[in-house]
Symmetry: C2
Subunit: 457 residues, 2 copies
């Protein structure tokens, strides 16, 4: 692709094999990937447009990526593709305290945006566990979730507008800067979560909130994941709106503790971590009500945390669970989401599935949302164990659908959930998806093979 280099400033087009390898896949350990033909690191929307137009003219697949922290293989390179890496476009262009919005380039790291907003008394809520590394562009492309979603919603709830290069190489602005607006179709929401198949995002306008009240933390210890699941249901039934409601099991706590020596040796099988940011006395009352729900559901121990450092350590452990387990061997991450009333049943089923397939399954979960992340653990090089884990993975998907759930709550379809998507959606609905994709990417150059699978599948 020497021709492409000539169209861009020096240094943008990279083809060193080590570079190609380092940009060739995300963190979905088990998803296939190939080496790209080139990696392009544009600095402007116009440079992105040059790359897309070049690829459209030649039928070269375009795979877009941010930090590569995805867990479904959505950013994995295909043979001969051009990877557009947006990690060099990391300017925060504007934070407007009056309109409560920010305009950022797609490569801005989630935590960096949050910190910049906090300096002005503002808050950008979406907080995936990858927030120290993942980018806003990637968060938008996958409609990333996080801990605060249970009260504050997901990334898409904060996207007001996008600048996008389309599958025909047009550079367009979608959405708006006003609080409301219904002029035309909501193409902004259509792009959110489209995993690079409908356009390349070159700028994001996000909605912000005023800084919130300090949170109270509540912890509960339970003798099983099912008992913890019943406590989650009880909190929903009580009409509480926690600002976080996370589940971490003993295997995860032990793995984090072994790595970080945080003194987390919880005397429990499963821990629930709740938070409330209701102001003043309402926050106190909600924290007390959460403790009461935990106790009524049979918690072996439950209390409000009086020590902020200790509370933060528990949430850090939640965030670090995935990398901590990865240190021990290949991890296959699930991402099902079920109705809140089915959380306990699904957690029980996951346990049974692990036993059935002789597979160790650890659990973290955005429990309040019903978004479960069973983590299927294998030993390095254990091919038989790997096959058993894959069978368990398929069963988890099937049983989540049986309970009225979805195959992906926040990680996206990518490569790992393509079969799941076909199980979840009717053929007529899949046909609508393809029609929309054909409308916006008529040449099929944008991340082909992801989400839907190849054309002949």
């Amino acid at each position: 692709m020497d021709g492409l280099s000539a169209l861009l400033p020096p240094g943008r087009v990279l083809s060193d094999p080590d570079v190609l390898r380092s940009y060739s896949h995300d963190e979905a350990e088990w998803a296939p990937w190939e080496l790209p033909a080139v990696v392009v690191r544009p600095r402007t929307a116009e440079e992105v447009q040059v790359v897309v137009r070049y690829c459209v003219e030649r039928g070269i697949p375009v795979v877009t990526r941010g930090a590569g922290t995805g867990l479904s293989g959505g950013a994995n390179a295909t043979a001969g593709c051009a990877v557009i890496a947006l990690d060099g476009m990391r300017a925060i262009r504007e934070i407007d305290p009056l309109e409560k919005l920010a305009v950022v380039e797609p490569g801005v790291v989630n935590d960096d945006l949050r910190a910049a907003c906090a300096e002005q008394g503002l808050w950008y809520p979406p907080d995936p566990a990858s927030s120290p590394w993942s980018t806003i562009g990637g968060n938008v492309a996958t409609n990333a979730g996080g801990v605060c979603c249970v009260k504050y919603g997901v990334t898409g709830d904060y996207v007001l507008g996008l600048q996008v290069v389309t599958g025909t190489g047009e550079l367009v602005r979608l959405g708006r800067r006003t609080a409301k607006g219904v002029a035309g179709y909501d193409l902004t929401s259509l792009l959110v979560g489209s995993e690079g198949t409908l356009g390349v995002i070159t700028e994001v306008t996000v909605r912000l909130r005023p800084r919130r009240e300090p949170e109270h933390t509540v912890a509960g210890y339970f003798s099983s994941v099912v008992a913890a699941g019943l406590a989650v249901e009880r909190i929903a039934a009580a009409g509480l709106t926690p600002s976080a409601l996370e589940l971490v099991d003993r295997q995860c706590l032990a793995a984090v503790d072994e790595w970080k020596n945080m003194g987390l040796s919880a005397d429990a099988d499963t821990v629930l971590l709740g938070r409330t940011d209701a102001p003043g006395a309402a926050g106190d009352a909600e924290a007390d009500a959460m403790v009461a729900c935990f106790e009524a559901a049979g918690a072996t121990w439950s209390a409000r945390s009086t020590n902020q450092a200790e509370a933060d350590a528990l949430f850090d452990a939640r965030r670090l669970a995935y990398p901590a387990l990865e240190r021990l061997g290949p991890v296959l991450t699930e991402d099902i989401c079920v109705p809140v009333g089915r959380v306990a049943e699904m957690l029980g089923r996951v346990q049974a599935i692990g036993e059935r397939h002789d597979t160790t399954i650890a659990n973290i979960a955005h429990a309040g949302d019903g978004n479960l992340h069973p983590l299927l653990l294998t030993r390095p090089g254990d091919e038989d164990g790997r096959a058993r884990a894959q069978a368990a993975f398929a069963d988890i998907i099937a049983e989540a659908l049986e309970l009225g759930g979805t195959v992906t709550g926040e990680h996206g379809v990518g490569l790992l959930k393509r079969d799941g998507l076909r199980r979840e959606l009717d053929p007529a609905v899949l046909a609508l998806h393809r029609a929309v994709r054909d409308a916006l990417d008529p040449h099929h150059v944008l991340n082909p093979g992801k989400v839907f699978g190849q054309e002949n599948e």
Copy 2:
């Protein structure tokens, strides 16, 4: 269309001229309409599917409507079309307090859903002024706003899933019942606000919230709309999150009072009505902070309402302003939305536009959102005044765009804002819209001529 009658149970297909006339237009006083060929009042999704398939096969335009309370002509009949009136499909199928969702037929009236939810301690927030009459299906098709949007968002923020008959006559389910989910494109959001051009909605699954705290009301009197606009900006700058922030001018209050004798003779040019539903002491503090903002912005009088009946009367007056003015003559309703920091300037410009075109303009506004509804008043039969009002309408749109606003904040494009849409969106973005429309309505039978205009325009 005798053939259609034979495919449906008796009484569904209506062709009495009076019936045709009564279903031929919405409340957009100045939008053109024709008599439909038939009106069909289906009772099930399958019956809707029969009608759409019949029309697809014969190229008959389908115009879908709920209660017909729209203000942009989006539900106006075109010559020879089939009107599908969903006002007979008004079952609330399910309210689930644990999952906090409801499943309803499209003809359920907004206030009826709210009342049914309240019985179970739940709250359906979207509250357009038409809520006593308008239907959830119509609210979804236009992405209706309302008073509580300033804190709680618009209709689309509450739509979890839809059942839809597509432009090819397929009956499909989009979206989900879980709190989160990213399996495939967000086609649900694409359908929301698509004004009947992408599918006919036959069922809606909405998200609910727990019942909220009682609200405190704050009123402020101002000597001009511009002064009131500056108070709105001050509230945003202070980082307050009122649960309502409405503007009503003296002309509206006088018209309502003349009609309803509510004793509203406000000693002010413009009234701002704020509310807060923050719990306990936080609510008291936020109400006091609003009063302080009003006073700092030069309110001639401002206070917290200590009398609930009086507070409700002021909000009733806000809701009744439009019908009250309609009693006096034809009203052309504007629906621009500008950034909060431009509200005062835009209100000043509206005043100047009215003077320039010798047109009386009253004002109501969801001021906290920047969503302004200048109401252009004419005398019955005054053709010259009507032409002046239309010139003023065009100027308001142009100046809203100049200030970074949108031509429609919550009423939709319909017929009245088609020119505005073409001014607001780039040709490349309009082309994306047409591509998406062609994907989902390939035969161009769904509300043709609305939103985009005719094909040759």
